[in-house]
Symmetry: C2
Subunit: 290 residues, 2 copies
């Protein structure tokens, strides 16, 4: 039976250091470190996520402000809100909650967020730094996956890892983070001809497709580590990409859903907000002293 | 016996269209499209590469200017040269020939090149666009590899591809380009525990390590396509990563060294220069008309 990789507990371990950092920054800045969230429309899942992020901010001593915009907001008005937050010296991090309504192109809009306030790590410049192996602000879910993996496997050099899913939020940045650690990485997708072929030898499998029970015991070798990024509501229950009950018997380590990757995503968002606040503060000090 | 993927011939096929485009742009711009090359120091290989690029520019009707700087040039002086070229309206593309002397950090210096003139596609912003699947200026060697692959395999959906090498010049951008085409991509490196395991089932293998004869017949399945990005001087001969004589007997398609990827790199640099010139011209027209 696999050991459960408890994301809730691992995230909780990071809280004291983050609270201390938030407190130190509050003294330096003369105000609380601050996140601005932009929430467009009424998507119920987004409402839940934003509320959770705000609650965690409060727990750690981070101020959060939510800008609620109608789903009919124009591109120009949305960009104006972002530009205002870029210029506002009291805002350290800006988070545009996704998804956006269909008339707004998220790739185009995300470019307007000042890269130094881009706490989701979705600005192309931050993605370019990650690509170069010089990461600045990195997307929170892949950071969380990496920490879960490193909690049971400290050296990833030469380790065979298969990622299923190629999104810019999870699959692509995670592939880069793992390559950076020396792993041999395979990135599969919904078109992959024979998924078992690319998962059956993997030391670590990360699935990020949102397809319930995609990964069965047949996909997994004995003693593998399984990270399940999927979270799907099925018959009023939350399930993941992985057939947990079957896979748990073969794997050495496995994340549950919920309570695996989810809490790690939120805690890394908090870390990114404080990192952004610290780096802006340090840059201003350097500027003052020069 | 494998069919040879003749990069020299494939590159030559692109010349007439590029010459026509250079000619059209010359009429639009009222001057030749222009590349500025910055060559720091006296590295003999760099001298050869720069001379080849300049010769190809001349063939196609592109002006090239070479800024030769001493290997002792300071960071500040090098950046000043780049900023001058950024501001010079008559320069369409800027190429900083790599490698740089040890006292200069290429990642830091490359950030100073205006992204719209970055014809090598090495600015983090251009790499971020590529990462997002919205490529603008893309590194020339991976573009050339993709075209060689597409010359024998038009649909890459679900195709299993193994890349050996994780550099920002070849392995990483090529992985993104191939993922974008729907391929299942494995990225191996020098630390990969069992290279044969990740190459033996691959439909396509791309090797970009600079390690002579790394890929033997044992690595390759019958009917695979082999792209050899390596080019190494060994006993006064140019050889690649692949044991050509042995692998040729098993592969369906294979690139030679020299005459495979090399000519494709140069022709794609030319295409990038003209693309950069065209996009700057179009942006200026839009600005004038708005």
């Amino acid at each position: 039976m696999a050991v459960i990789l408890d994301g809730k507990a691992l995230a909780a371990q990071q809280k004291p250091a983050l609270m201390a950092k938030a407190h130190d920054l509050t003294l330096c800045l003369g105000r609380l470190p601050t996140l601005a969230v932009i929430l467009v429309g009424e998507d119920p899942a987004s409402q839940v996520y934003v509320a959770r992020k705000a609650a965690m901010c409060q727990t750690l001593g981070i101020r959060s402000i939510i800008h609620r915009l109608a789903s009919s907001v124009t591109r120009a008005d949305l960009i104006a809100v972002i530009k205002g937050l870029n210029q506002d010296e009291t805002i350290d991090g800006i988070l545009l909650q996704l998804p956006l309504p269909a008339h707004l192109d998220r790739y185009e809009i995300l470019q307007y967020i000042d890269p130094v306030k881009d706490v989701d790590g979705l600005h192309p410049l931050n993605q370019g730094y990650l690509f170069q192996g010089k990461p600045r602000l990195v997307p929170c879910t892949p950071l969380g996956c990496l920490q879960l993996i490193q909690s049971c496997c400290s050296d990833l050099t030469g380790v065979n890892i298969t990622i299923i899913g190629t999104s810019i939020l999870v699959g692509r940045p995670l592939a880069l983070l793992l390559m950076q650690q020396g792993a041999t990485v395979t990135i599969a997708n919904s078109k992959t001809r024979d998924l078992i072929r690319v998962t059956q030898d993997a030391d670590i499998i990360i699935s990020a497709t949102g397809q319930p029970y995609l990964i069965t015991a047949a996909h997994v070798k004995e003693g593998a580590t399984i990270i399940d990024v999927g979270i799907i509501k099925l018959n009023d229950r939350l399930v993941g990409d992985v057939d947990f009950t079957a896979v748990e018997k073969k794997a050495a380590f496995i994340t549950p859903v919920p309570g695996g990757v989810g809490p790690m995503t939120i805690i890394n968002l908090m870390a990114n907000i404080l990192k952004a606040a610290e780096e802006r503060f340090n840059a201003q000090q350097t500027f003052k002293n020069s």
